[in-house]
């Protein structure tokens, strides 16, 4: 592995190696040392959480970071080209971690520089480190990735996170329940991909009553702005809010995941149940990113 640009580039073996490395880092079985290593965090689109997670990952390994954030340099404005910016940053650093609203920006960056590049999100396209930390959270709580039953709830149409997760879990033979308002359903091209892979899925309009056979429920936020009529939003939003009462008959191993930040799609009364896993999930992001950086820099 030279770069981490897209989940499409990863084989099952690559994924399992990353999972294994993250687990060993978490348990302290391997302690990667990034002393004198510098990660350049280029965030051409703000994402405080993802940036903090990478920053923490690097610093937990005694590494250092430089941060460039803002919206400049994303298009052909006056001045330096994107390629020149990358080349310059590459002179200072050992690895480039990049977020951009431009789709394909990280792939291009990896062509321009010789350093490893990590895609920390490129528009609506890919966010592989999020997908990998989700997988790590699943394997940690379920003991495996194969043959799980996974519910995805909320905005399934525009949610990059749920798309990547569905694609990644399909490789491991998952079965899905998609829970969303009809106009925010999983896009057809993704459903076609799943059909091609013989992956079973069903579609529902309510969380309630549809989660008792699941191993994982992955909840995402529905943005009010997606609705043409605010009244429609008010009418359906209750169907996509998970609360404690709905958890009465769920499986013992059931866990609720959420990429965070949450607004109100998971009621706070879920937080102190044993099913809530979204905060540990955020912590898993640090181990996963430590594993990614270590592997790309050849330290493990």
């Amino acid at each position: 592995m030279k770069n981490l640009i897209s989940m499409r580039d990863l084989s099952k073996e690559d994924i399992m190696r990353l999972m294994d490395t993250a687990a060993k880092i978490e348990k302290g079985e391997i302690i990667p040392n990034m002393q004198r290593k510098l990660a350049a965090l280029l965030f051409f689109e703000p994402s405080t959480r993802t940036m903090f997670s990478f920053d923490t990952a690097m610093k937990r390994m005694n590494g250092d970071t430089i941060i460039m954030s803002g919206t400049k340099n994303t298009s052909a404005k006056k001045g330096e080209t994107f390629a020149d910016t990358l080349q310059t940053i590459a002179q200072y650093s050992d690895i480039i971690i990049m977020r951009s609203p431009i789709e394909g920006a990280a792939r291009y960056a990896a062509e321009v520089v010789d350093l490893p590049v990590v895609n920390a999100g490129d528009g609506a396209n890919q966010h592989p480190t999020q997908a990998l930390l989700d997988l790590y959270s699943i394997i940690k709580t379920q003991g495996k990735l194969e043959n799980l039953k996974i519910g995805l709830a909320g905005d399934l149409r525009f949610g990059r996170t749920v798309h990547s997760l569905a694609q990644a879990m399909a490789v491991f033979g998952a079965e899905f329940k998609f829970i969303s308002p009809s106009f925010l359903q999983m896009p057809d091209y993704l459903k076609d991909d799943l059909i091609e892979q013989n992956i079973k899925f069903e579609e529902f309009k309510d969380i309630e009553g549809n989660i008792d056979d699941l191993d994982i429920l992955y909840v995402t936020r529905i943005q009010k702005e997606r609705f043409a009529d605010p009244e429609d939003y008010e009418r359906v939003k209750g169907s996509y809010v998970l609360n404690k009462a709905m958890l009465e008959n769920v499986k013992e191993n059931f866990k609720v995941l959420h990429p965070l930040p949450r607004v109100d799609e998971i009621h706070i009364d879920v937080d102190d149940t044993k099913f809530a896993y979204y905060f540990p999930q955020a912590k898993n992001g640090v181990y996963t990113r430590q594993a990614i950086i270590s592997i790309l820099l050849g330290e493990v």
């Binding site: 499409r8 298009s75 789709e103 394909g104 291009y108």
Partner: protein, 152 residues
């Protein structure tokens, strides 16, 4: 050979003929083959064809296109045939195969794709399914080959 055809588009002594191009697509064929350079090129548009109704045709003098070079035409017109002429004789005639990869020539329809904001050539991987699809290497969007926008 019918005489009518020879009048419409002159025969060439040596070179390549791309025949049975879907009517109206010949300029795109010229572009995708990078024929804007030194070779003499003759084109015919909207000729009558027994095989496909109306067709376009292009004749390139003194250049022998390889099948690999010509295959990119299949993106525009899968019906096209590649004919190699040597001393006014047809020495080779083959249909085209869909290429697996194409660089440049295609404009990504995704406005947020980096190929639309930086001066870099687009790169597409073609999946020869029914119907054929193409995926942008950068933004990873998938399109039907027949919907691809060819730069011209």
């Amino acid at each position: 050979m019918s005489q009518v055809k020879t009048i419409k588009v002159n025969a060439i002594k040596n070179g390549t003929v791309i025949d049975h191009i879907a009517a109206g697509k010949v300029l795109k064929v010229i572009d995708i083959l990078n024929l804007t350079g030194n070779n003499s090129v003759m084109i015919g548009m909207n000729l009558t064809s027994n095989k496909i109704g109306k067709k376009d045709i292009v004749k390139i003098e003194n250049r022998e296109l390889s099948k690999e070079e010509a295959n990119s035409i299949a993106l525009i017109s899968p019906s096209a045939t590649l004919i190699i002429i040597n001393d006014f004789e047809v020495v080779k005639k083959t249909s085209l195969d869909m290429p697996e990869y194409i660089e440049e020539h295609i404009i990504c329809s995704n406005p947020k794709c980096i190929t639309n904001s930086e001066e870099i050539p687009s790169k597409y991987y073609i999946n020869n399914t029914e119907p054929a699809t193409a995926r942008c290497l950068y933004c990873e969007k998938k399109y039907l080959v027949e919907d691809l926008k060819i730069k011209i």
